[in-house]
Amino acid sequence: MNRINQKLKEDKKLLSIYFTAGYPNIDDTAIIIQNLEKSGVDMIEIGLPFSDPLADGPTIQASSTQALKNGMTSEVLFDQIKDIRQFVSIPLIIMGYFNPMLQYGIEAFCKKCQEIGIDGLIIPDLPVDVYHSEYKATFEKYELINVFLITPQTSDERIHFIDSVSDGFIYMVSSASTTGAKVGFGNTQTEYFERIANMNLKNPQIVGFGISNNETFTQATKYAKGAIIGSAFVKHVTQNGIDTIDTFVNNIKN
C-alpha cells in the first residue's frame, strides 16, 4: 500500500510541511527532509522550483527564484534524494508546476519518482480533466498518487468528480488566494470546511493555505484530516536557517 494511504489510516491529525528544494542552499534538500521527519512531521511536500509559479505568493516565489539560481533542476533534485528512503519512511510528495515535468518527460519523471520512493505528486497547473484523460494511466503504472486542489469556489459537481479521480487525499485550499497571502480563518472558511465535511467524500481532506501556527492548525484540522504549511515554513527557514526546524514543528504541534 502507498505510504500516503497508510498514513491517512492513522488515527491522528496530520501535519504536512512544504519546502522549496535547493533553498536556502542547494545541498539542504536531504537534510531538511530528514530533520522534518525527526521533528515529527507526518508528510513532506518537496517543492520543485519553477521560474513562473502562478499560484504562489512572494515568499515561495522568492525561494523558488533563489533555488533556481542555486542550480536546482529536476535532475539535481532526483540525484540529491536518490538514497532518501534509507533514512526516511514518511510519505514524500513532489509539488511542482507542469512544464518542468513535461520537459523531463512525464513517463520518465514518474518512473524516477517510483525508483526513489516518492509517493505522490501535486501539480497545481495540471487540471483534473487533462490528468484524467491523458496521464492517469502513467501515474498509476508507477504507483503515484496525484493530489488535486479544491477551493471555496469549486462547485459540488466538480468536487465529486475530483473525489472520483483521486485516490489519496484532496488538497483543500482554504481561501481563494495565492500561497502565503492570507493568515487565519474567518466565518467564510468555517462554512466552507463544514460544507466539504458534510459532502462525505471518499478521500480525506487536508487543508492548505493560511496555516502558520498552532491556532490555525487546530482550526483547520477540526474539520479535516490534516493541514499543510508552506509559506510559514519557508519564512522560518529564511530567517532561522535549517537547524531549528524542530522548534518550528513543535510550535505548530504544541
Binding site: 518542468p100 495540471l126 481563494a176
Partner: protein, 395 residues
C-alpha cells in the same frame, strides 16, 4: 470534413492550446468559456461592439495602397492602418470587446498586464469609457522605460502596479495579473492583451481582432476587385494583431500567411525573441504552445528592441500555423526592423511602431512577384517609440 486551422471544440489548435490553470482559476475561466460565444453572438452585443469600433475607435481603419513602397520592392503592397485607431494600435479592438464582455458577466473590476504599455493604455481607456475600476500590472523595468504610457494610464484613471518578481518585465506582469485574479475570483475580469492564455482567451482575443481581416476582405474587393490577397504579413509577439490579420484567410490556402518574429540581436545571439525558431512545446500562462525555455523547463527571458514583441511564447494558433507549415515564419533583427521603420517614414510619411517595423522588414527576407498583392498589418504608430528611434538613429 474541410480542413480547418481554427480552434476545435476542446480549445486546441492542433496540439496547441487548452487550459493549464490552477484550480483557483477554474471557476473564472470556466464561466468565460461557457458564455463567451453566446454573448458575442447576441445582437445587442454585436451592435454595441460595432458601434464603438466605428464611433470611438474610428473603424474601419484604411487599407492603404503604399505606392512608393510598392515601387521600391516591385510588388503591390497594402498597409492595414491599425496605427490610425484611437490609442494608436490594434490593441483597442480587443479591449472594447472584452470590456463589453466583462459588463455582461457582471464584473466591476478590471485587471490587465502590459509590456510596452499599449495594451495597458487600451485597457485604461475602455475602463474610463465604462466607468470601471482598472488595475494594470507592469514590470518594474518596463515602468521605467515606458514613462509616457505609464502617465497615460494614470491620466485615464488606472492604477499601475509594478511587477517586482522575476525579471520584472511582461512575463512577470502577466504572472502578477494572474495572481491578482486568483486572489479576486468573483468580481474581477482579466483582460488579456494577446492571443495567449488559457482557452478561451486565444480564441476570444482572435475573434475580437478578426475585424482586421474582415475589413481587409471588403476593402481589397473595392480596390483590387478580389477579396483575397496573395499574402498577409504581420509581426508576432504573443500574436494578437497577426491572429486578427490572418483570421478570415486561415482556411483559404491560396492566401499565404507570413509571420515576422523579433530576432533581437540575431536569432542565435542569446538575445532574441524568435520563439518559433528557439522555442519548444510547453506550458506558459495557461496554454500549451511554443515557448523559450531551458532544457529543465524554466521559462527564459526574451530580448527585442520592441517591448511589444518581447515575450517568450507565441499564441497557440501561431504554434499550430508554424508546426503545420500553414504559416511562413521569419524573424527580423533590431537593425532590420529599425531600418524598415525609417524607410516607411521616408517613403510613405508614416512613422510605424517598432513592432510593426518588424513586419515591414519582410522585404529583407522574401521577394514577392510584381503582381502579388501583399497586405501588411501596420499594427501601431511610432509615437511611443520616438525615444528609441532617437537613440538608435542619433536624431
Amino acid at each position: 470534413m474541410k480542413k480547418t486551422y481554427n480552434i476545435n471544440e476542446k480549445g486546441y489548435y492542433g496540439e496547441f492550446g487548452g487550459a493549464f490553470i490552477p484550480e483557483m482559476l477554474y471557476p473564472n475561466v470556466e464561466e468565460l468559456r461557457q458564455n463567451y460565444l453566446k454573448i458575442m453572438a447576441e445582437p445587442s452585443f454585436k451592435e454595441e461592439f460595432h458601434q464603438l469600433l466605428k464611433d470611438y475607435v474610428g473603424r474601419p481603419s484604411p487599407l492603404y495602397f503604399a505606392k512608393r513602397l510598392s515601387e521600391k520592392y516591385n510588388t503591390k503592397v497594402y498597409l492595414k492602418r491599425e496605427d490610425l485607431n484611437h490609442t494608436g494600435a490594434h490593441k483597442v479592438n480587443n479591449t472594447i470587446g472584452q470590456i463589453l464582455m466583462a459588463k455582461r458577466l457582471g464584473k466591476n473590476r478590471i485587471i490587465a498586464e502590459t509590456g510596452a504599455g499599449q495594451h495597458g493604455v487600451a485597457t485604461a481607456t475602455v475602463c474610463a469609457l465604462m466607468g470601471i475600476e482598472c488595475i494594470v500590472y507592469m514590470g518594474e523595468i518596463d515602468i521605467a522605460r515606458q514613462a509616457p504610457n505609464v502617465a497615460r494610464m494614470k491620466m485615464l484613471g488606472a492604477e499601475v502596479r509594478p511587477a517586482l518578481s522575476g525579471s520584472r518585465t511582461l512575463k512577470d506582469a502577466t504572472n502578477e495579473a494572474i495572481r491578482d485574479w486568483i486572489n479576486n475570483p468573483v468580481d474581477t475580469h482579466y483582460i488579456i492583451g494577446s492571443a495567449i492564455g488559457p482557452h478561451p482567451y486565444p480564441d476570444m482575443v482572435t475573434k475580437f481582432q478578426s475585424i482586421i481581416s474582415e475589413e481587409i476582405k471588403w476593402q481589397l474587393k473595392e480596390k483590387e476587385g478580389k477579396e483575397n490577397p496573395d499574402y498577409v504579413v504581420a509581426c508576432i509577439g504573443g500574436g494578437s494583431n497577426a491572429a486578427g490579420t490572418y483570421y478570415h484567410f486561415l482556411d483559404n490556402e491560396a492566401v499565404g500567411i507570413i509571420a515576422v518574429e523579433a530576432a533581437g540581436k540575431g536569432v542565435h545571439s542569446g538575445e532574441s525573441a524568435a520563439t518559433s525558431a528557439l522555442g519548444k512545446e510547453g506550458i506558459i500562462h495557461g496554454c500549451k504552445t511554443l515557448l523559450m525555455q531551458t532544457t529543465d523547463g524554466q521559462i527564459t527571458e526574451p530580448y527585442s528592441i520592441s517591448a511589444g514583441l518581447d515575450y517568450p511564447g507565441v499564441g497557440p494558433l501561431h504554434s499550430h500555423l508554424y508546426k503545420s507549415g500553414r504559416g511562413e515564419f521569419y524573424s527580423a533583427t533590431d537593425d532590420e526592423a529599425m531600418t524598415a521603420g525609417l524607410e516607411l517614414c521616408q517613403l510613405e510619411g508614416i512613422i510605424p511602431a517598432i513592432e510593426s517595423s518588424h513586419a515591414l522588414a519582410i522585404f529583407e527576407h522574401k521577394t514577392f512577384k510584381p503582381d502579388d498583392v501583399v497586405v501588411i498589418s501596420l499594427s501601431g504608430r511610432g509615437d511611443k517609440d520616438l525615444q528609441n528611434y532617437i537613440d538608435y538613429f542619433k536624431l
